[in-house]
């Protein structure tokens, strides 16, 4: 067991650190989401891309550094150490870009990946819908092919981060309702300035809007907008979700949810550091964050050995959210009512109840782990083998 850098990795770290030290003065503030702040973050992503730090694991032919997950972690750590923001378009570069690399046509890769990397074109992910989140294959957005090969899209998407800034979205839509629900889906590239697209911010408990609703009203897509084969969208989507797990798994501490940071917050009142109940609660929370850090190293070891991240990663997400909820709660108990308005900890309290459902609800993640890791039998399902078009009637009949 060895967490030290090999000589090669130490040299890479030194290069990354030197680049960041040289350019740190150009870095913008990580906070704020007004137009000026977003423009500054996009410009900073361009600088990171020029330094080879934006798409560490993308192949070199598409502008990446062509390196592995270890180097990605080094970059994450060094960006954290330098106290500068990372890339702006984590969803694009971390999840959607790798999906295009795996399933897109050569034309799509040549046209789309370069501007994604430099944040000249920001991306958003159009998967979830008001009636399909954890059961993603139940989406209703329809894509109908026209005689000339173009597509007409109608439907509604939700929880869309960065939709208001995005040039493109990667969208899952139903192309064949007359087959079981996982089989009639196709992935598309959607230009967000197309006629018929509406974006509306969705405000959350904190008052901020980290997400949007996206309305698609008879939007026309040109022929060849599909990513991968028609009706093979589920497999393409699973690739995105796999990269989502890797991005979260390797970047969790990047949110600043760390045992040491919460310990510093406790120092606000010295009496708290001597209060046995506070210490007990904090000891338990800190232990979960420490477990996450070292679970991350175990996952990284697997990745490095070429193993595909499994469903166990879902448990890390469950632990992260539970520990962050408990930490926000504890720190606000210590700070008192003012804590709830604190920019760092109050937002934690407000945001966590919603994040519990992001990337699959805690309940659906536990189902997934129970079935795929422990091999437990699935819940009986009403939708197996049923054409999507007949499903609603069957669901209603079962009530």
């Amino acid at each position: 067991m060895d967490l030290n850098d090999t000589q090669e990795l130490a040299e890479y770290r030194a290069t990354v650190r030197a680049w960041l030290e040289e350019h740190a003065a150009e870095a913008p503030d990580a906070r704020g989401d007004d137009d000026a702040a977003v423009a500054a973050r996009r410009a900073w992503q361009r600088r990171l891309a020029e330094g080879g730090l934006a798409a560490v694991t993308w192949p070199a032919e598409y502008g990446g550094a062509g390196l592995g997950p270890l180097q990605q972690v080094v970059v994450n750590q060094e960006i954290g150490r330098a106290g500068v923001p990372g890339i702006f378009d984590i969803i694009g570069v971390g999840m959607l870009g790798p999906t295009l690399i795996a399933h897109g046509s050569e034309d799509q890769k040549q046209r789309l990946l370069g501007p994604m990397l430099t944040a000249d074109e920001v991306w958003c992910q159009l998967f979830s819908e008001p009636a399909a989140g954890s059961d993603l294959a139940g989406i209703q957005t329809r894509a109908k092919q026209q005689p000339d090969g173009s597509w007409r899209i109608s439907g509604q998407k939700v929880w869309t981060t960065n939709a208001q800034h995005a040039a493109f979205g990667l969208m899952l839509a139903r192309t064949n309702p007359d087959v079981p629900k996982h089989k009639g889906l196709t992935m598309f590239v959607v230009p967000m300035d197309a006629e018929g697209i509406g974006v509306r911010p969705l405000r959350q408990i904190s008052g901020e809007a980290h997400f949007n609703e996206v309305f698609l009203d008879d939007v026309l897509l040109e022929p060849g907008s599909e990513v991968g084969a028609v009706d093979n969208g589920w497999a393409v989507g699973l690739t995105t979700l796999m990269f989502e797990r890797v991005t979260i798994g390797l970047g969790g501490e990047g949110f600043g949810w760390r045992a040491d940071r919460f310990a510093s917050a406790l120092l606000a009142d010295d009496a708290c550091t001597r209060d046995l109940e506070t210490r007990h609660r904090f000891g338990e929370i800190a232990t979960e964050f420490l477990a996450l850090r070292f679970t991350g190293y175990r996952m990284l070891t697997s990745l490095q050995r070429g193993q595909i991240p499994g469903a166990e990663g879902a448990l890390a997400k469950v632990t992260t959210i539970r520990a962050a909820i408990a930490a926000g709660d504890l720190i606000c108990d210590v700070l008192g009512p003012d804590g709830l308005s604190d920019e760092r900890f109050g937002e934690l309290v407000s945001d966590m109840p919603g994040l519990k459902s992001a990337g699959g609800t805690e309940e659906i993640l536990r189902n997934m782990v129970g079935e795929r890791v422990l091999g437990l039998p699935p819940e009986p399902r009403l939708d197996k083998g049923i054409p999507f078009s007949e499903l609603r009637a069957k669901e209603q009949a079962a009530v």
Binding site: G283, L290, L292, L315
Partner: protein, 362 residues
Amino acid sequence: MNFALSDEQEFLKEAARGALSRVATVEAAREALDGGALPDLWPTAVEAGWPGLLVSDAHGGAELGALEAMLVFEELGRVLASVPLLGHLPATALLDGDDRVAPLAAGDTRAAFVPAKPPTDLDPAWTTEPPLGLTRAPAPAFADGTVTGRVAWVPDAPGADAFVVVLDDGRAAYVESAAVEPATVYDVTRSLGHVTFDAAPATLLDTTPADAAAAWYLAQTLIGAEAVGAIDVALATSVAYAKERHTFGRAIGSYQAVKHELVEILRGLDNARSLMYYAGWAAADRPDEFPLAASAFRLAAGKAFDHAARAQISVHGGIGATWEHDAPLYFRRAQLHRRLLGGTAGAADRVAGELITAARAA
């Protein structure tokens, strides 16, 4: 970077599992509740080289690390094996380098570590478990070549040939004879004693308070590793039952309420295992982080074990709470586990104290 077990470490685990599989330890544990004798596993331990696992090569040991010791304890914990190594290994770690360690490393004689909890940011004293209640007693004192003091709940004290005693100033002493009152224990596979030193002749060891603290944390990791093995068994047993037991026409493991409870055992196990590796890595590579790592591991493992032992009973229904099933044996062990060696609550306080101290210094 590599955060997985090496081939040698995997082999050590397999060998331990193989050696222990020759004895029906779980059945023996059940019979011992009715007064049956536990099998003597010391010869098995000696044959495998476990008594000298942590002792340097020059003094007749295998010179392996804390992680290897934890891997052996994980296997012991799986099958509730009663082997007096929880007392022995920390004693040998403190005594390594001393000529008297050789017979202990060979397993010809057996030592008990008489632990004292190192000072915290709130309490400057070295303290020991009280026989009753929460008020911790001061550790034994050394004067004029003798040790005097009483320490309750000392692992593996009954039958020990020698005692390595942590003193009230963080030094350590070697004592050959003490009055040991065997403690009646809820988990009969766990040998415990209340030890009294009444001006017992003693020699001081050439150790620092940091060494004595490291022995305390080593004991935390060993008892934690036992829990990891036990959780693994509780999970596998419960999952197997949830697949075969049917109610209302379906396997109970298909119900979310049952499934989610089983996944919660896995989550606790996975977190504890990650922290076990952290503790093993820190013991070897980051000694200054060992108090934090060992305490976090002890806490995670103890909490997860308590939950797993209860969940195993729930999943099995009423039968899980009877002597017909193994679940009560694991439950008894979990209940004693969380109250020994400072307890899981003490470990939580230590995690907080270490991090608060670090935050103050930052």
